[in-house]
Amino acid sequence: MPTQVQTKILKAEKRAAQNAEISSATQTVIGWQGVRCMLPPDWNVTGFSMDRENGYLRVDAPAPGTMTVQIRWSNAARVQKGPPNLYTFLAPRFRKLFKRPDAAVPKPDLKANLEKILKETAKQAKKAKAGFESTIKPEKTEGDDDERTAINFSWNGGGRGQGKIWYCAVCHRIIVAQVVGMPKDQTAMALIASQLFATLHDHSIDGYDRWALYDLQVDVPDDFHLEDQKLLSGYLHLGFRRGSERILVDRWGLANVTLKKFTLDAWFRNHALVKLKCLPKDERSLHGHECEHYTGSIPAIARIRALRETKGALRRFATRYESGIWECPNTNKLYAIQVAHNKRSVGLWEEVAERCDCH
């Protein structure tokens, strides 16, 4: 009969083996509004918000109703400041102009935030006529430069949740990430939670945000904000904007079926932002595939439309257009990246296209 110590060792070995199993399997990368993490394969985004300041992301396990990862974020800097006024409007602009460091953001009260969240969860458990219990662990600092102040927590009532709340001193965001599931999934939840917390990042790297969902993975400069999206079965579209500059990322599935009816060129002409007839075309290699690349200036009518859309703002006014479409036979998908940019942002298309992982 194994002793207590032996049982503990066996359990630890089992846990290590399970961990190794998870890490060895191909993982799903999820990236949205600067938040990115890695989860087991086939986990998919099922809910999201368009707002970068205060938003949420929900990722579900392949079998619905089993486990869910919920990530919420809010900008602590904005919360602290209160309603906007002339000072809050002008101060960051002057700081940027004179290259002064950002104003110090007071550290938010994480415990108060967490208690608020747990109170809401308790209310839901009460509605479901279930008891509620929660455990809050002491506050600790973590991260490479101790930039994070974090509190781990767990709750039990109606379902089960294991989560973490932290404040990041770099991006001034308060992030709440939790894995929610049924009480029977406790072991699996613990594994997912450890994987989630180990891989979750809350701010951009090298000035680029990773946007990743449903096999689409692309890095976009962090000063571009998400303007529109279309997430359909077989077609994904993400549109970003910075002033009047735009980046459009499209991904179509079933490339082999599409290319039986259309050529790559004809398909792209039907979906491009501007008329491609007058633009010079060249072919180049991208990620080992042949890419049809177009570049030229934006026609006058499209410029007038852009001027109307940006309400007359001439800052970084887009005058150039660059785009490319390629087929990735490895994943049977078509990828297209279109950029409407200012003369100063030369090379933007290349940077985004190089950072778009197709396989």
Partner: protein, 146 residues
């Protein structure tokens, strides 16, 4: 399989008078994925060289004698053609009553290198559409209708 008349009336009332809270029972996803879609034996189909599949749906089968005579007199078409694209044709061929919805999703995923969720949404919607038109039926086990 069509619901009994009484249930259809009941759910019809519930649909138009929502405050009565009469709703059809929710279908469990796991149970739905284990159903086996089977083709309607009245239908014939042919595969074209372009990859599309053409379904030939017989018409004027369940109509009265007068209508049938009129249809013959006016030379009305006896069958309707429904064109399915390549992926639709592939799923149609898999609906032989031996494969579950889950297996069809998996095969479609593999064949067209689709994301599991994307394939699941497309295939289930397509099967639902075929079922609404009575082109397929669902079996709980091979040979027995649900």
């Amino acid at each position: 399989m069509r619901l009994p008349l009484m249930l259809r009336v009941k759910y019809g009332i519930g649909r138009y008078l929502p405050f009565l809270k009469i709703r059809p029972p929710k279908v469990d996803r796991q149970a739905a994925m284990l159903l086996r879609p089977g083709r309607n034996s009245m239908l014939t189909w042919e595969k074209r060289e372009t990859g599309e599949t053409m379904l030939l749906v017989p018409q004027n089968e369940k109509v009265g004698r007068v209508t049938r005579t009129m249809a013959r007199f006016l030379k009305a078409p006896t069958e309707r053609q429904v064109e399915l694209d390549e992926v639709g044709g592939y799923v149609w061929e898999l609906c032989d009553g031996s494969l579950t919805v889950d297996a069809i999703v998996q095969r479609t995923c593999k064949q067209y290198k689709m994301n599991r969720r994307e394939a699941e949404v497309s295939v289930t919607m397509f099967l639902q559409m075929l079922h609404e038109r009575n082109f397929i039926g669902f079996y709980k086990k091979t040979g027995k209708k649900a």
